[in-house]
């Protein structure tokens, strides 16, 4: 993701944040615990655009990438992309006082940088130093910031005000932001998007193309996944569902 893309996202986030003051959430969405005041005015149109982008560009490219690149090459790329996220993970573990996770992330970074050929290999996982994801959106949640309005961003997909703000701060922690070459940073972001689509081909297909209403399905899937991530699974308590 290039720095200019981050600026665009920040602008969209700021606009959404500003507009949220004058937009009204529907009672139906409020009853579902969803803050989506732009569902019918903007979001469904952007969703249609994003779905078309996925159908005709992202999905075919990710399938092509999967077909023509050897498994070993994809594994090296995947490792390298994970390695680039280490500064983000480390900083956010520190900011949320998860010091053990921060320590393991630092150790993992050191092992993979040295023994793992600069991050192309992942010997740290064999030493039980698994990747522990953290981002600034989660940090904001831990600090007590509300989720904010839900919206879809062209090309980037679903987000919330909190998540968008987090993404902008995380960009500052991405080594690619300091290369001074927007094309390289943009290329890395594009490869990461293709990789992520390829890794989750079936799950995303079933949500986007096999649902009665893909807008509702994507919103529900995104919010559940984000809430599960920021609460370490606490939002997914089945016992609450049993209690009736």
């Amino acid at each position: 993701m290039s720095f200019s893309a981050a600026i665009r996202m920040a602008a969209i986030g700021a606009v959404a944040l500003g507009l949220s003051a004058c937009a009204t959430n529907s009672p139906e969405n409020a009853a579902l615990g969803i803050n989506d005041p732009y569902e019918n005015s903007v979001n469904r149109s952007i969703h249609s655009f994003n779905k078309g982008f996925d159908r005709y560009a992202l999905r075919p490219v990710s399938q092509g990438y999967d077909a023509v690149t050897p498994g070993l090459f994809r594994l090296l790329i995947s490792n390298a992309l994970n390695h680039l996220e280490a500064p983000r993970d480390f900083a956010n573990h520190i900011l949320t006082a998860e010091f053990e996770s921060a320590g393991r992330t630092l150790l993992r970074f050191a092992v993979n940088t040295t023994v793992g050929a600069g991050g192309l290999l992942d010997p740290a996982t064999d030493f039980e130093l698994e990747k522990e994801d953290a981002d600034f959106g989660k940090t904001l949640a831990v600090w007590g910031a509300g989720e904010g309005v839900y919206y879809e961003i062209p090309f980037l997909g679903p987000s919330t005000v909190r998540h968008t703000a987090g993404r902008v701060v995380d960009l500052a922690l991405a080594p690619t932001s300091y290369l001074g070459e927007p094309l390289i940073a943009g290329g890395v972001a594009a490869v990461a998007a293709v990789e992520a689509r390829d890794d989750n081909l079936g799950a995303i297909d079933s949500v986007l193309y096999d649902s009665p209403d893909s807008y509702i399905a994507v919103r529900s899937f995104y919010l559940d996944a984000r809430r599960a991530f920021v609460t370490n699974g606490e939002s997914q308590n089945l016992d609450d569902l049993e209690d009736f």
Binding site: L32, L75, N82, V207, P212, I216, R219, A225, L238, L241
Partner: protein
């Protein structure tokens, strides 16, 4: 009393007491051991049965995902597997929540019949992303919620071209004497909670008309 009868009497009484105490303690330890030996195999068998269910089901899903069958055939095969290995009635009930109470038996049956193909599709496609990779047993723990024993079986999924591990937790309980699962959490994301929130969204979009929800589900898997 022993202190009044003298040292020898006290010693004799003390010896008897110690002998009785040893005997009582021995009996208690024996009883505890017997109880442990009596109950341990049953508890261990439950966990073992749950582990076996999960390992077998995960292997069958991965085989199914890797097969040359069409998406429809895969979904239908997984539906059969789901009916065999999962508590589908409970999944249906949980994904509706409180409104379930107000439904007629016929509506409940219709919903379950429409939901299972939908859920099977979601499930088999999500697991399809591990095709060529692996889903391996890691650990299991037991928990008790409202007098019900559950076994939480943790597995680690690995996609074929990614070193990153995915945490997959299966919630297993017992139904009519056999182990069944009723939820799977991939990276903390519960498939049942996800389905529940999705169904609530659809139900809200059709003005709370339950029969329209069933029709929507049928259309999407037709």
């Amino acid at each position: 009393m022993a202190t009044v009868t003298g040292a020898s009497g006290a010693g004799e009484t003390g010896a008897r007491w110690r002998a009785r105490a040893r005997c009582g303690l021995g009996m208690m330890i024996g009883a505890a051991l017997a109880a442990a030996l009596w109950t341990a195999p049953a508890a261990a068998a439950d966990v073992e049965a749950a582990n076996a269910l999960v390992e077998d089901t995960a292997a069958q899903i991965l085989d199914l995902a890797a097969s040359e069958a069409s998406d429809l055939e895969k979904r239908q095969s997984f539906e059969a597997l789901l009916n065999e290995t999962a508590d589908v009635a409970r999944i249906a009930r949980l994904t509706i929540g409180r409104p379930w109470r107000g439904l007629t038996d016929s509506q409940k049956a219709d919903y379950q019949a429409a939901l299972i193909p939908f859920a099977a599709n979601r499930f088999v496609k999500s697991f399809g992303d591990f095709k060529g990779g692996s889903v391996r047993y890691k650990s299991s723990t037991t928990t008790k919620v409202r007098d019900e024993e559950r076994v939480l079986v943790r597995t680690i999924g690995r996609r074929p071209a990614s070193a990153e591990a995915t945490d997959i937790l299966w919630v297993v309980t017992e139904l009519e004497g056999r182990p069944v699962f009723y939820d799977v959490r991939i990276e903390n994301l519960s498939l049942v909670v996800q389905l529940k929130n999705e169904m609530s969204g659809y139900l809200s979009s059709v003005g709370g008309d339950f029969d329209k929800l069933v029709a929507l589900l049928r259309e999407s898997t037709a």
